[in-house]
Amino acid sequence: MQPNRDTHATLVDLLDRVLEKGLVINADLIIHMAGIPLLGVNLRACLAGMETMLKYGIWQDWDEAQRSIATRERQQKGVEEQMTALGLEPKRNLLSTMDSDIAAKILSKEEVKI
């Protein structure tokens, strides 16, 4: 049996790898906001179609993830504004915490073949 890398038949394998795997940088200078995992889910949702999404709860999770980001951003913004008012430098650790939450959500869910 020969391995196959034909673009059409193996697109899902490629997406699984490029969107979800690879070396992870532990630098604080990286831009890795919620965009990365969400982009993956977003695309999968696009491909799977509404019905499958609802059936397997992708849409719900995605929606929840989106909303929790919005809530946290608002909270963080509030904290930052207070800190700035006090003349303190706001901490920029918000994004990585959010990422791990979303990653956990995504990892905990069964994937859908697209």
Partner: protein, 266 residues
Amino acid sequence: MENRGRYIYGVAAGAKAVSMGPIGIEGSEVYTIPYGGFCAIVHSCPAEPYQSGDEQTVKRWVRTHQGVLDEAKKALGTVIPLGFDTILQSKNDAVSSDQVVKDWLKGDHDRFQAVMERIEGKDEYVVQVSYERSVIIEQISAQSEDIKRLKQEMSTKSPGMAYMYKQKLEKTVRAEIERLAHSWFNDCYGRIKQHTDDIVVEKTKRLNKDRVMLLNVSCLVSKGKVDSLGKELDEINNTDEFSVHFSGPWLPYSFVAKPVVPVQGE
């Protein structure tokens, strides 16, 4: 204004600054930034992630990401791939973005070394084994004494009782499939693993109503072992029960993320 971001495709060994041409995402010029024996394969971009709701656009980006890494592998040898949309940025006018990348190469030097050693001369392959549920149900219905007996008894019962029997039958079939799947998994996993240098078990996916994925693994395989893995997969594929999906070679995306365990005493 100079772009603040550096989109990182991967890391290769080498101390040369190389220009790879406009082969990057959206036609960006790809080049290497060397430091301390390793080089990052990058393009210059604004300090914002690439995002799009359009499926074709994202697929194109992902294919380009892979295409750049394929080219880099041809030109530079073993490449450690990074995931899509990894962008380093300079937050300070005094430090150039290329310098930020160099600082990162410096800081993670030992890690790159360890990952390189692990993946050198090896590629990643995807192996998925699946079965048709209906075929398996037929087989076990013909073989299992319990199921034969239940079917026999069911045929003599009233519609109400027959319904109960049907439920019981389904439960028995399900349990039998689960038992079989467990032993098939162990068997297939063992047979595949012996032809790999490393293996990661991935989550199985839903295929369609009747086709069930039994096993989904990412395999790190040295060049010399690919044929023997292919032969083993042929044997699995040539049974009535299973069909095998075998794709690759991919860059070893699944084998660069986990931390490398340092040798004792270090």
